[in-house]
């Protein structure tokens, strides 16, 4: 069983569209959507029969107004500016419990926080593990870890070849949580200066955590000079460019139809993505 995580650094490069295509092309797999605060993969996979569990993680402080003597110690010590006018701002509260520990009149309690939901859905492509982080909630890294854990259990139980993970943008804790222990990170980039800048940083994160990397240049003919620059950079860094995909509205048309593009069209982009999957699955060794 091998896990591939699709990341990008920069948002909007085409990760989810490509993962949906892999869902169609790979025979034996489970899908995981680790972009838990803006999950879109389910929009292309037509899931049904969803198992839904509450995700409880972290705590939030509450001040009992009747007990509070307004001494102000909690406000003074809170490092997250979460207490003002002797009330806790639950959006800013990081649940550290410092205020609870120091309150001289025990006016503060810490309550468990329901931070979101995790889901396991069935789709025509197989199981999809996904989640939704609650609005303004923390612990996205933990929810990502739960999604991956669910996917791993399914892969083991069903004896599946692949876990294919749609990763979040950025390089912070949800990305790190989606990356650790993966067999391959496929980095989907675009030939823009922003895309190149962000690619270099996410490559750094993958290397930091010891995950091998392949690159796919999406929208490659948007700027041929930049695409060449990406290829040169990857060559110098001994990173494989697994495929280049043309800039084509067919990607968006497929999203509008709620389909992976390899099922929507049989044109150039579909052929390029099929080649991408060939390259990636060969690299994974299955």
């Amino acid at each position: 069983m091998k896990e591939i995580v699709v990341l990008s650094g920069k948002g909007g490069t085409g990760k989810t569209s490509i993962v949906a295509c892999f869902a169609s092309l790979a025979r034996s797999k489970v899908l995981a959507d680790c972009d838990v605060d803006a999950a879109d993969l389910h929009l292309l996979l037509s899931p049904n029969a969803r198992e839904d569990k509450e995700f409880w993680s972290g705590r939030v402080a509450f001040i009992d107004e009747e007990k509070c003597t307004e001494c102000g110690l909690c406000q003074e010590l809170c490092r997250f500016a979460a207490i003002s006018d002797f009330k806790v701002d639950h959006v800013s509260c990081e649940g550290c419990g410092f205020c609870y520990q120091v309150c001289p009149v025990d006016a503060i309690t810490m309550k468990d926080s329901m931070s979101g939901h995790s889901f396991i859905s069935k789709t025509k492509y197989g199981y999809l593990c996904h989640a939704r982080l609650g609005i303004a909630q923390e612990n996205s890294g933990k929810l990502v870890a739960l999604v991956r854990q669910n996917a791993k259990l399914i892969a083991e139980r069903e004896n599946l070849d692949y876990i294919i993970t749609d990763g979040p943008p950025g390089i912070g804790c949800p990305v790190i949580s989606s990356l650790s222990g993966a067999n391959l990170a496929l980095l989907v980039t675009e030939p823009t200066l922003s895309g190149i800048h962000d690619l270099e940083r996410v490559i750094g994160v993958c290397r930091h955590f010891g995950v091998p990397v392949s690159v796919c240049v999406n929208k490659c003919d948007l700027n041929e000079d930049n695409t060449s620059a990406i290829e040169s950079y990857c060559g110098k860094e001994a990173i494989e460019v697994a495929a280049k995909i043309s800039f084509d509205n067919v990607m968006t048309e497929a999203i509008v139809q709620g389909l992976p593009v390899v099922e929507y069209s049989d044109g150039k982009v579909t052929h390029q993505i099929r080649e991408l999957w060939q390259a990636v699955s060969a690299k994974l060794g299955k």
Binding site: G9, R79, E94, C96, E138, G172, L193, L222
Partner: protein, 286 residues
């Protein structure tokens, strides 16, 4: 006035909008652009300001003086993040889990814990022709963006028009960056992904009680679902940017929209006047 530019979905054009607004306003206003997408800061690729000041951002991490420590375990008991553990005669600290709340240091009965700064990122500034840039950059391998975002926001100049480039998503880095804004522009695209993530971003700004308006980018592809949603939810669509390969090509080469196509300056000036109108009404209503 503090204007945030957010989206939910990555790659919709937040940085394109934030930089275009900043450049359009600078002839007549003192402008500050805060790049709070500290995981992948891109605004300066389009602004090209020389960085004249750079300093590290530190998170306070506990350091235990084992000569004073009695291994009572109170620090481990207090820590909400399992960042400090006491096993027999050894204290283990996990800096990557520490939120820097200060509780362990304050509450250690032997005063055996001090705090040392751990570098997690940098903040950088540049300034030219009425436009100041403050950008934060999370170090590759670090998980937590909010401390770097908080540092960036400490440098808000209330005398300027402040424009904040917000990260993608809806979780804690976004909240940290958006909170306190007078207005939030939500940049989306007219596709099912754009709509899905816009609806999540709208929940965030409503939770934070920040007035908002939508900018629809790449009009011409996709559907009118976003328009219908905004109409139903009574959220104003304040600007529409068409699907235009030339806009994408300029962006790919690091050219801001209003520099590659100066006729757009008028649109962004009008946008600013509209935002001023909405925020004035809100102030009166209060």
């Amino acid at each position: 006035m503090i204007i945030s530019v957010a989206s939910g979905k990555g790659g919709t054009g937040k940085t394109l909008v934030a930089t275009s607004l900043a450049i359009s306003l600078r002839p007549n206003h003192r402008v500050q652009l805060l790049d709070c997408d500290v995981e992948e800061p891109n605004a300066n690729i389009l602004l090209r300001l020389a960085i004249t000041h750079s300093q590290p951002v530190y998170v306070p991490i506990p350091s235990v003086d084992e000569a004073k420590c009695t291994y009572c375990g109170k620090c481990a008991e207090i820590c909400a993040y399992n960042a400090i553990g006491v096993i027999k005669k050894k204290v283990l600290i996990f800096p990557e889990l520490c939120h820097g709340c200060g509780a362990c240091s304050y509450l250690c009965p032997e005063s055996a814990i001090t705090e040392e700064g751990k570098e997690v990122g940098v903040f950088e500034t540049g300034d030219s022709e009425n436009l100041g840039l403050i950008q934060g950059r999370l170090n590759v391998g670090e998980a937590m963006a909010p401390p770097v975002i908080r540092e960036v926001k400490k440098h808000i100049d209330c005398g300027s028009v402040v424009i904040i480039d917000i990260p993608p998503g809806t979780s804690c880095p976004v909240i940290e960056a958006v909170k306190g804004s007078d207005f939030c522009l939500l940049v989306t695209e007219p596709t099912p992904f754009g709509l899905n993530d816009l609806s999540l971003a709208v929940e965030v700004v409503r939770e934070l009680d920040i007035p908002s308006g939508v900018i629809v980018n790449r009009v011409g592809l996709g559907t009118d679902e976003v328009e219908q949603y905004c109409h139903r939810e009574e959220i104003p669509i304040m600007l529409r940017i068409p699907l235009d390969r030339d806009i994408a090509t300029h962006y790919s080469g690091g050219i801001a929209l209003v520099e590659g196509m100066p006729r757009w300056r008028q649109e962004f000036l009008r946008l600013f006047q509209d935002i001023r109108g909405v925020t004035a009404v809100k102030r009166l209503a209060k």
